[in-house]
């Protein structure tokens, strides 16, 4: 019998043990995370088989009833796919870093951050939500500052400060909610479901409503990121070692998305209209700004960092305009589309960074101009990279399309002909993706690179199966889309 609490306990135990695994820590971490992945997949498959909405598998251990603190976990149709994505991304990242290049601490920190991410996604209690939120960020800070590339100290500081400011806002908002809950009902509660209940939040003074909403939004938007508060992202992605980039891009981006749809969505009715328009505008700006900025980059890693940020514009767009719709099919479409986009983006960007990692590894180069025609030498690697690029630019049949289509379908009513702005950004996105493919994968081979190797069999199997999974999601999206739409439908 697989159980959520058991998986989580196992993961926590294994991640601590990784620190003591010595020279086997790499293999240990890889195997542990793979075990967790398999367990999660089974658990999700079993639990979500006949999902119709709401939370499933709620556990609650009351720790301190006087202060309303309890350790309660559970998953929903929204978090289950995200858990799956998280549990796929981490073994992938650990696979990339295998070979003992880094010491035991590295693998231990990776595992700890997986534990944290897992905890964030399953916590139903704000106390533990926040603790795990920090448990993710701190190891990642150390991973960057210890193992990063040039300027790692300042970049990791920037990452930390940015995300920590976000966290501080989140904490303040949580405490305000906590205090007002006591003031209104006379009991303490840290339950996410009770603290975000719109019936409760609408009772607190208007200023504090806005304060709470703004605080939480800032915290989550920093994490996504969205336009003016994204400055940590390109540097962090760029400086972090590739495996860490994979987990930041593929894993940590889930946190922001989870915050929006898992926590803020229920308070949706309390958002002032102007703030929603503000978010929509920010999303549109993000879409265009990040795609054009990505086009300007000549280092692949940085380009893909901006591409990742750009696709988050879809998420915030879906969120804001979905809330504005309030109800009906447009609401379900937009919100489920946004959730699907988070889920798909996480896997796509993980695949992309993994393939770029191998490009970098075999050729020693990750600048578009320094590469050229590597398809001749490394056809498997190039094909997989191309697959990732196509998924990222939203080709139908791959995972990225479904989310984008339903977001566009759900938001048209709200944004009207501003949809052309989105389309413009999609054209630009397609352009630089294809430009990258043409420049570095195809064309005449850059003889200066010498002979480079292709993916080995095991590497090909890992990356190939992820690509195959993306194809599978794209062809049979209903497996996950129905979970999202039932969850959203259950909220109505």
């Amino acid at each position: 019998m697989i159980d959520l609490a058991a998986i989580f306990a196992l993961l926590s135990a294994l991640s601590v043990l990784t620190f003591f695994a010595g020279r086997h820590s790499s293999a240990f971490a890889m195997i542990s995370s793979a075990v967790v992945m398999v367990a999660t997949a089974f658990y999700v498959a079993i639990t979500m088989e006949s999902y119709t909405g709401g939370m499933i598998g709620r556990y609650s251990i009351v720790l301190n009833s006087a202060q309303g603190i309890s350790f309660s976990i559970g998953i929903s149709g929204f978090t289950a796919p995200l858990l799956l994505a998280a549990s796929i991304v981490f073994p992938l990242a650990l696979f990339l870093s295998r070979g003992g290049e880094y010491g035991g601490t590295f693998y231990g920190l990776m595992m700890i951050s997986e534990t944290g991410l897992y905890g964030v996604l399953i916590s139903r209690d704000f106390m533990f939500f926040y603790i795990f939120w920090e448990v993710v960020l701190v190891p990642v800070f150390f991973l960057i500052t210890l193992y990063g590339g040039v300027r790692r100290q300042s970049v990791s500081l920037k990452f930390f400060v940015y995300t920590h400011i976000g966290s501080a806002f989140i904490l303040l908002s949580i405490f305000s909610l906590y205090a007002y809950y006591f003031a209104i009902y006379g009991t303490f509660s840290m339950q996410i479901s009770s603290l975000t209940d719109p019936a409760f939040v609408s009772k607190i003074p208007y200023f504090w409503q806005i304060f709470v909403i703004a605080g939480l939004m800032i915290g989550f938007l920093v994490k996504l990121p969205t336009f003016p508060i994204h400055s940590w992202l390109p540097d962090t992605y760029d400086t972090a070692p590739y495996p860490v980039t994979v987990i930041i891009a593929g894993g940590l981006s889930l946190m922001g998305g989870y915050g929006l749809f898992g926590i803020m969505l229920r308070m949706g009715t309390l958002f002032p209209l102007v703030s929603l328009w503000f978010i929509i505008m920010l999303s549109l700006i993000s879409l265009v700004y990040f795609s054009l900025t990505a086009m300007y980059q000549y280092r692949i890693k940085r380009m893909m960092a901006y591409a990742s940020a750009g696709s988050m514009g879809f998420v915030t767009l879906a969120f804001a305009s979905g809330i504005m719709e309030k109800t009906g099919t447009d609401y379900v479409l937009a919100i489920s589309g946004g959730m699907f986009q988070i889920f798909a983006h996480s896997l796509i960007i993980a695949l992309l960074f993994a393939s770029i990692f191998y490009i970098r590894k075999v050729s020693g180069n990750d600048s578009i101009f320094g590469l050229g025609g590597i398809y001749r030498e490394a056809p498997l690697l190039s094909s997989i990279t191309l697959g990732g690029l196509l998924a990222s630019l939203g080709l139908p049949g791959l995972a990225g399309f479904v989310g984008e289509f339903s977001i566009l379908g759900g938001t048209f009513q709200t944004i009207g002909y501003l949809i052309f702005v989105v389309i413009f950004s999609m054209i630009i996105t397609a352009s630089y993706h294809i430009w990258f493919a043409q420049r570095s994968l195809y064309g005449p081979y850059n003889e200066g690179l010498g002979r480079i190797r292709d993916l080995s069999r095991s590497e090909f199997i890992v990356l190939g199966s992820l690509l195959f999974f993306l194809l599978f999601i794209g062809v049979f999206p209903s497996l996950f889309f129905n979970l999202f739409s039932s969850y959203v439908g259950g909220l109505l």
Partner: protein
Amino acid sequence: MILQWLILLSPLLAAPVAFAAGRWKRGLSGIIASLSIAISLAISGITYFGVVSGITYYERFTWFYNLGYGIYIDHLAVAMVLMVTFVSLMIHLFAMYYMGKDPNRHVYFAETALFTAGMIGLVISSNLLEFFMFWELVGLCSYLLIGFWFFKPNATAAAKKAFIVTRIGDLLFLIGLVVLYQGLTASTVVATSQGPLNIEFLITHAGSVLNALGRTRLFFVSLMLLGGAIGKSSQFPLHVWIPDAMEGPTTVSALIHAATMVTAGIYLVARVYPLFVASGPDMLYILAILGSFTALFAGTLGIVMNDIKRILAYSTISQLGYMLAALGFYGVYGSGVIGLSVYQLVVHAFFKALLFMSAGAILIALMDLRDVRKMGGLWRRMPLTVTLLFIGSITLTAVPFTAGFFSKDAIISASWSFYQSGGTYVYGLPWVFLEIGSLMTVLYTFRMFFLVALGKPRSHLAEHAKDPSLVALLPLAALAVLSLIFGIFQGSFYDFVNGSALVLKSVPISIEIIPLVFLVAGVFLTYFIFGTGLWQKVNFSAVPGYRTLKNKYYLDRLFTNLIAERGILPAAGAFGRFEDSYNSGNERAGRGVLSFGSYLRKLQSGIIENYFLVIVISISLIFIIIDLMGGF
């Protein structure tokens, strides 16, 4: 019904099998791919008889949310699918000869099989979103196959251009889909069980779609769908990608960029034609004028090209224009124009595949020398191939009693009737464009043909050119026979596709005769200049307009130089630089905080007297303030 699914599944499954088998033994891949398509063709034949007997094969399942997928094979689809599988099979057979020595031919055959599957899927899909998915799949295959010779910089650049330009069209199509979908999902007019984007629903209930969306929005939807068609079928102004796409293998040009994929845009319009009709006469006029203008416009460009494949490429654009224009003449034949257009589409597929493949046979003999000025005298050296080229050419120029004559003449006559029914001169424009376009067709075709076939060889390679083996030319011969005799099916084809009898309107004989006059005049003119060697003495650049034509009306330059290089790239640069300075601004702010902190740190001097002094001053200040506020 399972049998009809196999039409799609057979090449779809064959693609990976051909690749895997080809890795082991290169020769197998072509055989597997061809076999799978032969199976599709056979089943399409069976399906054809089913459709004739009145069955519409329609099955759908839920894909996600309220969107479905499935197959929908009616008269129109079965006609298309027969054409696609047949032409694709012929081209595959020829490709086994043409690509016979390429080391990567297993990749080639896997991709063409995948392409064929995509094309079949597009034709028989039951839902517009599924349609779009296959639409993108064929686009992807086109991208991969144009860049098949990945080591050629031109080829990869052309592939990139093709992808981006068609992507613009595709995204317009996507907007159309989104707006249509949103409107139908939100409205109460449409029962959810019908599925908002099901093709069957859209074409049988165009009226309720109109009610649900309103005229303006439906017009917008049609316009966006047309945008997709323009990109895919390379109509003005998104036609710029297709001449460059000729960098791919010639069989790819024949399969994708002449016979099948580029007709997908026309097929889209034909498929959801009731929506276009419901959008109002303006929409239909746009179809007519856009198509006829492209027919003329691309024809003029074909005249000045020297690359044999590019001549054929512009010819393809021009012929696609005829098909699109035909769809605009709703006022003349009602929905019967679909038959008119699709007949031209099918005939065009036959003769254009033939033309491209004979050009391919010539290119193999000439080691990929594509310049028609360097050919010459090939009729004597490659008699079979050039005869096939000749058959293709006369069908293209609509010489009487070839299939092209029947298909194109009907369209031109319809354009005259369109003028008559419309009344004003504006409605006469399509007719004028199409008539002059037909003259252009004659000019570029026979210019090419005379340069290739007659005179003396003008290069060493041309002198030693030889016919390929007879077996390799068999598929071409099959297409040639069809190009010649398919005209006898004109009436029955119209009736089959439309599902009802279509009576062609007669036009005055003086109008009817114009294309023939153009044909005779064109042949004489081109023979006089290009058949005799006179062209070598003429200074063409002195001819007015020649430079404009040579530069393709500066449109390519507009797109690549003005929009891409002067518009998008500088914008990207500006954004990128802003981003850089924004980032460093962020860091400066961070450093500012740090240095402010280190400034404050100086206060913590560790000297006890200073602390004492601060304490005394602070306490006195507090007392003063309290005193000022009114004391205790």
